[in-house]
Symmetry: C2
């Protein structure tokens, strides 16, 4: 059980009868046109550190409030975008606000960057604006992640608008991790806006391109964008040029592709939500993304035993600042979800 | 001229009659078999953070002193490997020794990681072991880069062996950036060995795959390897899975491919070395890699005017801790080298 210090032991683990509710990777394939460019690809030279112009131009068109492709930086997945922004946003000791539960990589990367983590608790995964208002003062930046990994909850539009105004008044940068913005069951995403908003997104979830590692950030704050480029020049240089061409092809995908996916995710959401409820677990209903965070007893033992005895991968709530719970990704087909639920039911009876 | 604060303004700049002695990217193509896997590639899921097993296995076979593929981590180019190792090697305030001139990214990344840079001066690019011996004491780690970017000089085998022994006695980690190890004109590379050596290499230079971003690090020090994996799990996740398959194909390339390349590099080295000598510049003869670092008057003005008036890109020596010089990469064909030399001659006459 000592090995359960972070998710790295589970990432990439497949096969051998394992049901993985672990890492959040779609099992559905990317749009076929993503692969069409491969046979004729022969480039090998460095690309621009900031990213290929065709891809940045296509992305700039997707955001009403973005003035130019110069505001974008293409990164090795959203992960690198997040790491880079933490590393350039403040000076050592500056505070950064997170809402709890949070994506597991945030706190370690924030601390690695020399910043301090401040947390605002949420009510059933929803930001409590009064607490937010108190905690955000004196922070250099705040990170909003809606829909959330690990809760699948989305923040209320009303709350987001109040956050926009407050942070603008206080001159606090909002980092908006919107990697699940296309996967919402309730409504379209509300894009956070403002002169100092830094938006992070990815091709991994919307277009099922996790392993190809294309993400990006963009901001109307040109100083921040330049700082990110300067650091990426040293820390990794251009993002893989072939993956960027594949991502460019993905930008041509019609909205119906995403709509079809969301319908599938919603069916799966319903299956796992109902299934876990039937097993007697306490839950919040996911409104987006493909995660669910039930409360359980002895979560560490449960994650370990599910893996070792039942070949079911789940993640420990502690990794997400959510002790007393486990996180399940339901990015797998209904049959596997049902089989996984059966095994979880078996574990719950046996223990 | 104010824009000359770092190389990012030049990276990826091509075309329009420009002769670029700037970034060090081979113009020769990768081995053709690298592209052969593309038409049938259909993977899209996360890979192992540490890197694909087939690639790590193939690499482990190339190093006599490596016991296992578990000692490797595949990264987004050597750049990411360097950044990751700096970020995990010490605690804030620890010192890291560099030999001067150094690759431009090192000092900023070291400081970003909270460490302090200590420098040992070199004599014509060669480490002075007595000075090294003095400066290394109290350091957490030392970085050796042979052949060197920006000098093209290699370190004497005798010196390297003394460094191995001293660092082993003092329990100091050696980070050996060997990305040019296959491109040496004088002899085969001497691989630094030891229980605490961290070796960094890349497919960018040997196999001309710069834009595809595949590098790696390996060490017999399992604790360091695990720390790198743990950080990469958060900061970028797996390296692009398609690029790793291409790199795996590259590992099958016969040695004759590299030998052929080295012959071409040597012809180019001779052309630029003789050419710059004829222009009256003071030089050290490059023994490996594809860089040369002539001493010049007013280097900042020279780099700027060469770019703006003569469409020639060169890099400023200051970026490499070598004031009073400029760095030229000669990774371009002889005709372009000759044309570039002509334009440099014109600038030197006019100024």
């Amino acid at each position: 059980m000592d090995q359960l210090k972070n998710p790295s032991i589970f990432i990439g683990v497949q096969g051998d009868g394992i049901i993985s509710f672990g890492s959040g990777q779609p099992d559905l394939p990317p749009p076929e046109n993503v692969f069409k460019i491969l046979p004729n690809f022969r480039q090998f030279k460095y690309g621009l550190i900031q990213g290929q112009p065709n891809l940045r131009k296509a992305l700039a068109k997707q955001y009403e409030c973005c003035s130019s492709e110069d505001n974008f930086v293409i990164t090795n997945g959203a992960s690198e975008a997040i790491d880079l922004i933490f590393r350039v946003i403040g000076k050592p000791g500056d505070k950064l606000l997170l809402h709890k539960p949070y994506y597991y990589s945030y706190p370690t990367l924030i601390e690695k960057a020399g910043l301090k983590v401040v947390c605002t608790e949420t009510v059933k995964g929803k930001i409590d604006f009064d607490d937010f208002d108190k905690k955000v003062r004196g922070c250099r930046a705040v990170l909003i992640n809606s829909p959330s990994n690990p809760t699948g909850r989305i923040q209320e539009i009303n709350t987001l608008k109040k956050i926009e105004k407050l942070c603008s008044d206080l001159d606090i940068t909002i980092i908006s991790d919107e990697v699940y913005k296309d996967l919402i069951y309730e409504r379209r995403n509300y894009d956070l806006k403002g002169p100092h908003v830094v938006t992070i997104n990815s091709f991994s979830k919307t277009f099922c391109m996790c392993g190809l590692r294309v993400g990006y950030l963009w901001s109307n704050d040109k100083e921040i964008v330049q700082k990110v480029i300067d650091l990426k020049t040293l820390s990794s240089m251009n993002t893989n040029i072939l993956a960027q061409e594949m991502a460019y092809e993905a930008t041509k995908t019609p909205r119906s592709y995403v709509d079809k996916q969301v319908k599938i995710w919603q069916e799966r959401r319903d299956a796992i939500y109902e299934g876990l409820l039937k097993l007697g677990l306490e839950l919040w209903k996911p409104e987006g993304a493909f995660y669910i965070l039930p409360k359980v007893k002895n979560p560490r033992k449960m994650v370990w035993d599910l893996y070792k005895k039942h070949k079911v991968i789940t993640y420990l709530g502690d990794w997400f600042g959510a002790p007393g719970s486990i996180r399940l990704s339901y990015a797998l087909d209904i049959d596997k979800i049902e089989e996984g639920l059966k095994r979880i039911g078996k574990y719950l009876k046996e223990k």
